[in-house]
Symmetry: D2
Subunit: 169 residues, 4 copies
C-alpha cells in the first residue's frame, strides 16, 4: 500500500519533518511511503496512494501561499476522496500557530472527501492532538524526548497502521 | 451496523437536525441509527456504534457549555477511537459561526482518535464542506432547496454509506 | 479620517459586499472610505487609513490563494500595526465556511499588530459575530432582511463609528 | 487605568502565567493590574477595567468546560464591549493546540464587542502571534529565553502600553 507525504518548505525544516513521517510509515509491514515537495509531486504515485499527510511551515499563523495555492489548484486532480488524511506543521515559536495551520489543512482535506485521522490521545504517549508540530529551525529538542525525529516517526507509523487496518496492504 | 447522532439542544432546532441526520442514515441498507440528547445517551448503544455524528447550537460563535462539558467529561468512556466521526451545528444567522463549532467538534473527535468525514465536495451537490449547518429556528428554507430536511438527510446518508463501506454492515 | 476595505473577488459578489461596507462607513461624519481590489490597492491611501476591513470569497472553506499571497507578500508594507481591523467573507452555501475565512483573516490582522473589532452582539440587531457573511451569488436575501446590502452597510457604519471614537476624525 | 487578567487553572500553571502577565502590565506607568480566577472575579474591578486578557489550559485542543461556561454565563455582565481584549493559553505539548484555545477566546471577545490585540509581529522579538503560550507544567524554559516568565511579562507590558495609548491613563 502506497502512502504519501506532501509538503511546502522554506528552510528545509518542514522537508525534514516530512521525511521523518515517511520513515515512520515505512515501519509498517507492506507500506511504501514517499515524501514530495508540492513543486515535484508524482501524480501517479499520489493517485494510487491510500493515505496522504500534508504539511507546511507557519507564516503569520497561517499556511504558506504556496500551500494554499497548491491545495486549490493542484490537489484536486489527485483523487483525494476516500483517502486517509493527516496534517503537520512547523513553526518558529511555540506560540506560532502551527495548530491553526494543521486545522486549516484538515479542513481542506474534509472538503476533498478525505478521512482525517491523527490518533489523538487514543494511542498513549506521545499524545498527538490533531497533528505533529515541529518548533524552530533545528528541531533538536522536544519536551524531553531526545528530539523531534522520534515524534514524527511515531506519527507516521500510527497513520500507516490505521491505513493498513482500513484498506489492507 | 449501529450509528449514533449525539446533540445538545436549546430550542429543539438542533434536535430536529439530529433526527433528520439519523433518518438519512437509515436509508442505507443494514444501518441502524439513533439520535441522543447529551443528557440521555445510551452508552452501550454508542460503544457498539461504528460512527458518531455530534452536533450543537452556536452561542457566541462557539459550542455550548453543555457540549464542551460532555465532550471532556462523558464522551471519553464511549470508546470513540476508530469510529467514523462527523459534526453539525445550528446558528441563528448565516454569520453566526456554526462552522467554527463544527471545526471545534471535529478537532475534539480527532483527539479521541476518530476518523473524521463529511464527504465535502466529492459527492456532488449539495456540497457540504465540513458538516451541515442549519440556520435559524424554523429551518424551513435553505438556499433554494425545499427545506433543510433534505440536506441533513443527505448528509446522514452519505455518512452511513461511508461507514458501511469502511466497516461492512 | 480614512478607512479602507480591501478584497479579493471572483464573481463580483465580494466586490459588491466591499462597496456596501465602504458605503456604510461613509455614513459616519468625517469618514472617507474606499474599497480596493487586492490587485489595485492605493498604498498611500491605505497607509494613511486608521482602519482596514479585509474580505474574501470562500473556496474549500478557506481563503483564496490570492488573498493568502497578498496578506503575506503585500500587506506588510501598508503599516497595518495599530489600525482598526475587520474582516468579511462570502460563500456559496450557509455551510461553506465563511466564518473560518473571517477568523483566518482576523488572525493575520492580529499578527500585523492590528486592533480587531466587529461589534459582535454588543450593538443589538443585527448581531454580527466576528464579521459579516454574504451567501451565494446574488445576495438578494438575508434571513428576512430585505437584502444583504443593509447588513453590510450596518457593519461598515459600526466599524467607522468605533474608528472615529478611537482615533478622532 | 485598571486592567484585568482572568483565568481558569487546573494545576496552577495558567494561574502562574496570568500573574506574570499582570506583573508585566504593571510596568506601564499609571496601570493597575489584577489577575482573577474565573471562580473569584471582582466584578466591580473588571467592569471598571479598560482591558481584559483571558486565559485557559488546553484540554483535547479546546478550552476547558469551566472557561466555556464562564464566558457564556458570567462574562456578559462585565461590560466587556469596547474594552481591549487579549488571550493566552497553556498546553502540555507544543502540539497541544493552545493557539486554537486562544483563537476561540478571541472569537468570543469579538462577540462581546471587544477590541482584540496581541501586538503580533509588529513589536519585534519576541514575536507573539495571537497570544502567548506556555508549554508544560513547569514552564522553566522557552526556546532559549531564560524562562517563560519574561515572555508573559512582555506580553502584559505590550498590552498595557496599547491600552494606555488608546484610553489614556
Amino acid at each position: 500500500m502506497k502512502l504519501a507525504v506532501i509538503y511546502d518548505t522554506k528552510t528545509g525544516t518542514t522537508k525534514q519533518a516530512a521525511e521523518w513521517i515517511a520513515e515512520g510509515m515505512q515501519k509498517v509491514s507492506g507500506v511504501e511511503a514517499e515524501a514530495f515537495n508540492i513543486e515535484a509531486v508524482d501524480e501517479e504515485y499520489v493517485k494510487a496512494a491510500r493515505g496522504v499527510v500534508i504539511g507546511c511551515p507557519t507564516y503569520a499563523a497561517l499556511m504558506t501561499p504556496g500551500m494554499r495555492t497548491w491545495l486549490l489548484e493542484s490537489a484536486g486532480k489527485l483523487q483525494m476522496a476516500g483517502k486517509l488524511g493527516g496534517a503537520f506543521a512547523t513553526e518558529q515559536y511555540t506560540h506560532g500557530g502551527a495548530n491553526l495551520v494543521i486545522q486549516s489543512i484538515l479542513t481542506n482535506e474534509l472538503v476533498f472527501g478525505m478521512l482525517c485521522y491523527s490518533g489523538g490521545a487514543s494511542l498513549g504517549r506521545p499524545v498527538i492532538h490533531i497533528g505533529p508540530v515541529g518548533v524552530n529551525d533545528n528541531m533538536e529538542k522536544f519536551n524531553g524526548m531526545e528530539n523531534y525525529k522520534d515524534y514524527f516517526n511515531i506519527y507516521g507509523e500510527r497513520f500507516a497502521t490505521k491505513a493498513a487496518e482500513l484498506f489492507g496492504k
